[in-house]
């Protein structure tokens, strides 16, 4: 089922959680609502579920207005960050709950309930826990039970609020892949909230990036990562080096150096902040070189195929230069060739320095 929200606004007291969100979620996709904490993503999810009421705006399910329908009637599956399993019920009863509370006329017969619960527990590979209680399960198992419980009512959409948020790193990684496979099997329209960009990258077909109650960017996951449209999107989606300076022709004057600009949104003489990912900066160890930003090597960390070099450099426009930290990723081959030592003076340069238009500099 497709979901559409139109001009959703929500305030809590004087805090504006959502300012006029309009979005469409196509049928069958797994969509990640991504953003820093407090950006309104969970509020949006709860409004779609019907657990929260928007001040203005509409929620459409398959084109029909569901704004005034009660949470009970919306037939959504909701998975909570802290599982919210019914602690006094066995796993079996937890999963059966949605079927047992149906109005008497619509309530399925006991045999059907049993069959369905076991099917769902099989699906989440936890049939052997049917008679256990939530407190006897691990975090990852509990979240899978919560998912089985949400699926038991045959929801039209699945909403997951930071589903892996309270799990440890290893379990989280396993569950992500598992959720992706499950979605490929079930093809139910799913929205999940996360503040972890890696998680969104790995799991989602499509990303909605939010910041301060607004949508920053939406698009296919890869597209958003490769073509962030705002400075916020760029900084949020990965590690980033910031280079504040002044535009001078097709270079950026940073501190005592000049770095070439790849794209030009800014006018000559304007003060801007340019961005580069760690792998987009190059280190030049040649003392003869005059191009690039003078920097000094602080630390070299080798992990796997890449090496991370931490450096400091004086940035800013001429008068107010201040020290800043930089992080550069290079291959081990490059590291061997450069033979960097802590304290060594080098220059930083880049062919992929990005500057965002002034109206998109926020964040």
């Amino acid at each position: 089922m497709s979901i559409e929200v139109q001009d959703i606004r929500k305030t809590f007291g004087s805090f504006v959680a959502l300012e006029g969100i309009s979005l469409g979620f196509p049928t069958g996709e797994l969509i990640g609502l991504l953003g820093p904490s407090g950006c309104g993503k969970t509020t949006l999810l709860r409004i779609i579920a019907g657990l929260e009421r928007a001040d203005t705006g509409r929620v459409l399910f398959d084109g029909h207005d569901a704004s005034h329908r009660d949470v009970r009637e919306r037939r959504v599956g909701f998975v909570f960050q802290h599982y919210a399993l019914f602690r006094h019920m066995s796993v079996f009863e937890n999963v059966a709950f949605g079927m047992r509370v149906k109005p008497r006329k619509m309530r399925p017969p006991e045999a059907f309930v049993r069959k369905r619960v076991h099917e769902l527990l099989d699906l989440v590979q936890l049939d052997w826990t049917a008679h256990r209680y939530p407190h006897q399960l691990s975090g990852g198992q509990r979240q899978r039970v919560a998912l089985a419980r949400a699926l038991a009512v045959e929801p039209r959409v699945l909403l997951l609020d930071e589903p892996f948020g309270s799990l440890d790193a290893k379990v989280r990684k396993e569950l992500r892949q598992w959720l992706r496979r499950l979605h490929d099997e079930l093809h139910i329209t799913s929205l999940f909230v996360t503040h972890d960009q890696d998680e969104a990258m790995e799991v989602a077909d499509r990303i909605v990036l939010m910041n301060k109650g607004r949508i920053e960017q939406t698009g296919l996951t890869q597209e958003v990562y490769e073509h962030p449209s705002t400075a916020f999107a760029y900084s949020f989606l990965g590690a980033v080096n910031r280079l504040p300076g002044r535009v001078d022709g097709d270079t950026l004057r940073v501190g005592d150096g000049a770095v070439p600009l790849a794209e030009r949104f800014a006018m000559h003489g304007e003060e801007v902040v340019a961005f580069a990912r760690p792998h987009e900066l190059d280190i030049v160890a040649d003392a003869e070189c005059t191009l690039g930003l003078p920097a000094s090597v602080q630390r070299v960390l080798v992990s796997g195929a890449v090496a991370r070099v931490e450096l400091t450099a004086r940035v800013g426009t001429n008068g107010s230069a201040e020290p800043a930290r930089f992080e550069v990723e290079i291959t081990r081959d490059q590291l061997a060739r450069l033979n960097l030592q802590p304290g060594q003076a080098v220059r930083l340069t880049s062919s992929r320095l990005r500057v965002f238009p002034p109206d998109r500099q926020t964040g």
């Binding site: 579920a49 019907g50 657990l51 949470v71 009970r72 037939r75 959504v76 599956g77 909701f78 909570f80 802290h82 599982y83 919210a84 399993l85 019914f86 602690r87 006094h88 709950f97 949605g98 509370v101 149906k102 209680y133 939530p134 407190h135 006897q136 691990s138 975090g139 919560a146 419980r149 949400a150 038991a152 009512v153």
Partner: protein
């Protein structure tokens, strides 16, 4: 979380504290502290309790029974049971409603309501009684209107019920609020999303989660409802055979120098206290076992 516990030191805090040479007290400190606490316990708690029963049986079993089956005493017992039977269910409902409102909804004036719930505890019971006299009494705000319609509240059973309900109101609510706050709203919300009605959510999710705390509150509420003296004394009028509760009856007998009879009735109240303590200990033990089980939600 729970499984990891097996490898952790499972001894009680006290045992661990004593086992370590670093934290163990010197023997004389231990003896002194034990002596002080046990001495206090014997002098101020155990002795009065024994005294009540000794005095009650001083003049023999026959007189003891006679003091209890005498019409005024029976009437006092009946009235006390009636009052409790009305006040406790009322406060069960009010308490759950107040705790529900405070923990599940956000509204203006919530903090004020939380503070107001404690009012009956912080105000002297005599004042609580006087308030009702001022409102419903013959010279009170509603007095003339009530007299006109022939409704009697002060110096009658309704007044005693009102005063008792007021004094015992906080017990249930205070037990429930911290528990329900700790449990949060997630499980209730999950039930709603799964299609449960409000009533189904309350009956199948909320109630099982709070039942032990609720029972604990009800037991304390009942003990106080049967034992309340101050507020009831102000509104009752002490009419023998009509508006005398057990505590009031004890006072009257005592003032009339019928010590054995006074202590006989008092021994019933003391017995009630003992039963309450045993029930309370049992419920505490059960709810502790329950919360250990449901610790990690």
């Amino acid at each position: 979380m729970v499984t990891a516990k097996a490898s952790v030191d499972v001894r009680s805090g006290a045992a661990r504290f004593q086992a370590s040479t670093a934290t163990r007290d010197p023997p004389w400190t231990k003896v002194a502290i034990l002596a002080i606490s046990l001495g206090f316990f014997a002098l101020f708690l155990l002795m009065p309790l024994i005294a009540v029963f000794v005095e009650a049986f001083r003049r023999g079993w026959a007189l003891y029974v006679a003091a209890l089956v005498e019409p005024d005493a029976l009437s006092a017992i009946r009235l006390t049971l009636t009052i409790a039977a009305i006040a406790v269910p009322l406060n069960l409902v009010f308490g759950v409603a107040a705790a529900w409102a405070i923990t599940k909804f956000d509204f203006r004036g919530k903090q004020l309501l939380i503070s107001l719930i404690d009012l009956p505890f912080s105000v002297s019971p005599v004042i609580s009684g006087l308030v009702f006299v001022l409102v419903f009494g013959a010279q009170g705000w509603l007095g003339p209107w009530l007299a006109e319609h022939g409704i009697k509240i002060i110096f009658a059973v309704p007044g005693i019920v009102l005063a008792t309900v007021f004094v015992t109101f906080p017990f249930v609510a205070r037990e429930l609020i911290p528990l329900m706050q700790a449990q949060g709203r997630d499980e209730e919300e999950a039930a709603l999303v799964l299609g449960a009605t409000g009533w189904q959510m309350f009956r199948k999710i909320t109630l099982p989660n709070i039942k032990w705390a609720l029972l604990y509150g009800v037991i304390l509420c009942n003990a106080r409802a049967m034992g309340e003296f101050g507020a009831v004394s102000v509104v009752s009028g002490h009419i023998r055979g009509q508006t005398n509760t057990m505590p009031l009856h004890v006072e009257i007998l005592y003032n009339e120098y019928q010590f054995a009879a006074a202590f006989a009735v008092a021994s019933l109240l003391a017995l009630l206290a003992l039963v309450t303590l045993i029930l309370k200990a049992y419920v505490e033990w059960r709810s502790a076992a329950n919360s250990r089980q449901g610790e990690a939600p």
